[in-house]
């Protein structure tokens, strides 16, 4: 197992390197001179070239890229043009907010999606099943930012139960979390419910379930050791995928609820043309996503011995 983890880590590094190159390259294409952004439009050519020198902008592309990577390895993601603050430090303030939101949203999505899927599968074709299916269809189709607006409209403005926006510290913190978490997790809940339903349907009728029953074991053993263990595999896969989707898609939810997360940070930096911030944040997100995917893959190998076998026989080949 350790071998597998090590191999996968090794495979990630060149990919991440390429990602930094890609993102660095993209940000290079941003129009506008940062020096002017800092000094103002009426800056003198001398002060402009001075700033260029200070920021290292007079160096060729590859040199700047090289420096960026070197700094990255030391944990330095650059410095903001606007307020001269360390990007890494700013990210460290915002990142936990997004991760908290996404994590709780995943828990919410699972807590709602899995039971709905199980009930739907158990009572296939019943009225309940149909209602749930319609619900999941709507949930998957509703844009999360619109859902957020609707929740705000209804629960904050009309009913006044929860604060409309912002992250409140101290006593009101939990309350201010409720709506953003539901908004972010809703779509994933719908997808997890569908996946759970189809996974359960597969296992309910599986041949090995007949084999298990024919041995004379108890029904609860059939349910847990045979049905549930197998249904878990696609469900966990979906959960892992959704976590990545939610971290990426948090930006719209953060905008609706004025949540101080990394998505909004990127958006603000884009609007301020603060390129180092955008660059640093995007690279950071790629790293986090890669780590999450690795963890999901490891969990996956644990619960599905077929995957574990596949990993063990891989010698650098794609799966």
């Amino acid at each position: 197992m350790k071998n597998i983890i090590f191999k996968r880590l090794i495979m990630i590094i060149p990919v991440l390197l390429a990602v930094t190159f890609l993102v660095f390259g993209i940000m290079e294409m941003t129009p506008g001179d940062p020096a002017i952004a800092i000094l103002g439009a009426d800056a003198t050519p001398e002060s402009i070239s001075l700033v260029h020198q200070q920021l290292g902008l007079d160096q060729p592309f590859l040199v700047r890229y090289g420096k960026f990577v070197l700094n990255l390895l030391h944990g330095d993601l650059g410095t903001s043009y606007k307020n001269n603050l360390d990007v890494m430090g700013q990210l460290m303030q915002r990142l936990p907010n997004t991760l908290l939101l996404a994590g709780l949203a995943l828990i919410f999505a699972t807590a709602v999606g899995v039971p709905v899927g199980i009930i739907s599968a158990r009572k296939q074709y019943s009225l309940l099943d149909n209602i749930c299916m319609v619900g999941t269809l709507l949930g998957a189709a509703a844009p999360n930012f619109w859902l957020g607006l609707m929740l705000v409209l209804f629960f904050s403005l009309r009913l006044g139960w929860v604060p409309a926006t912002g992250m409140v510290s101290g006593a009101g913190f939990a309350k201010s979390l409720i709506m953003p978490v539901i908004t972010l997790g809703f779509q994933s809940a719908a997808l997890i419910a569908r996946m759970t339903r189809s996974a359960m349907l597969d296992v309910l009728r599986a041949d090995y379930v007949d084999t298990a029953r024919s041995k004379g074991i108890s029904e609860s053993q059939v349910t847990f050791r045979h049905q549930f263990r197998n249904a878990l595999i696609p469900i966990v896969t979906t959960m892992g995928l959704q976590l990545g989707v939610m971290i990426g898609g948090a930006v719209t939810v953060e905008t609706v609820f004025a949540w101080p997360g990394i998505g909004r940070y990127i958006l603000e930096s884009i609007n301020l043309k603060d390129t180092p911030c955008v660059l640093g944040a995007v690279v950071m997100l790629a790293i986090i996503l890669a780590i999450i995917n690795l963890i999901v893959d490891i969990i996956y190998a644990y619960i599905d011995p077929r995957i574990k076998s596949q990993y063990e026989t891989i010698t650098g080949k794609r799966r």
């Binding site: 930006v251 958006l267 884009i270 794609r318």
Partner: protein, 301 residues
């Protein structure tokens, strides 16, 4: 429906794949509903384009752009079925003219993604080995950054207009279609009729075009349909945060964005565009699911 050995004996007639698929599709009521809504949206979109072409943008200017502050934030009524926005513009007109942004941008974006992604995937699947490895690594790189964030970065770098938006949203989509094509190609490649074709001396290009691509079409079409629904969601989302289609163009997502400030007094501006987006996406999802069930019933649950 569970498989059981005691199935009805069906009279066997030979039909083409298309005919059979259509017959299956027809029986799926939700898929038909989805398709109907899609057709309506397409008609609306095309109509608005035609109207603009015919009257040189007069209707557009008068009803969609011009402000009429006396009607500011009017709630729905007989005169204005969807009410008015913060500039007094009739929301119904704005919504109708906004349909084409979501729909056609989504389609264009996916076309780009499928062409580039599909080509890469087909090459990877067909040639295998180092070529496959390299291309798939490239795909890994594209998937390493969350799609929305990557799109944001690209738009940030290139500027927020329609063309860049399409590129920005197509790029994160490329890996998905590359994978679809790659796996189709790899499945077909092992078939014996490919060996036969090679034995007769068919060129690689011919084999790819004539044999492999038609067979890979089915999963690609299904994925593409669902991809368009994703694209619509993304376009609306990006416009909502201000990085997509810029006002005063009546893109539904950007209408929602300005609706935020006036939510307290003008609920209609925040409810209606979102509903429209949801219905469009729902229609596409139902249509895509129906397509998948019709083209390959083995996948049906």
């Amino acid at each position: 429906m569970a498989q059981h050995k005691d199935t009805k004996a069906i009279a066997i007639r030979s039909r083409s794949l298309l005919q059979e698929s259509w017959l299956r599709f027809r029986e799926n009521k939700t898929a038909i509903a989805g398709m109907t809504i899609l057709v309506i949206l397409i008609i609306i979109s095309i109509s608005t384009i035609v109207i603009d072409l015919v009257d040189g943008g007069a209707t557009y200017d008068k009803y969609v752009i011009s402000q009429n502050l006396r009607q500011k934030l009017a709630l729905p009524s007989a005169a204005h079925p969807f009410g008015c926005d913060e500039y007094g513009r009739d929301l119904l007109f704005r919504m109708l003219w906004g349909a084409r942004y979501s729909l056609f941008s989504g389609i264009a974006c996916i076309c780009l993604a499928t062409i580039f992604g599909g080509t890469l995937g087909a090459i990877a699947g067909y040639y295998g080995g180092k070529v496959d490895n390299f291309i798939m690594r490239l795909m890994d790189v594209m998937m390493a950054v969350p799609a929305t964030i990557l799109a944001m970065a690209i738009v940030a770098a290139l500027g927020a207009n329609m063309r860049n938006l399409l590129i920005a949203l197509a790029i994160p989509g490329i890996p998905k279609y590359a994978r679809v094509l790659r796996s189709s190609v790899m499945t077909v490649k092992g078939s014996e009729y490919i060996e036969a074709a090679k034995a007769v001396g068919a060129s690689d290009k011919l084999i790819i075009l004539e044999y492999i691509i038609p067979n890979a079409m089915t999963p690609l079409i299904v994925q593409a349909t669902l991809g368009v629904s994703n694209a619509i969601m993304s376009i609306a989302g990006l416009s909502f945060i201000g990085l997509g289609i810029q006002p005063p163009a009546p893109e539904w997502g950007s209408i929602l964005s300005s609706a935020r400030t006036y939510m307290r007094d003008a609920w209609h501006i925040s409810v209606i565009p979102g509903l429209a987006i949801m219905i469009s996406i729902l229609a596409l999802n139902l249509f895509g699911d129906g397509l998948r069930d019709a083209l390959d019933p083995k996948l049906k649950k």
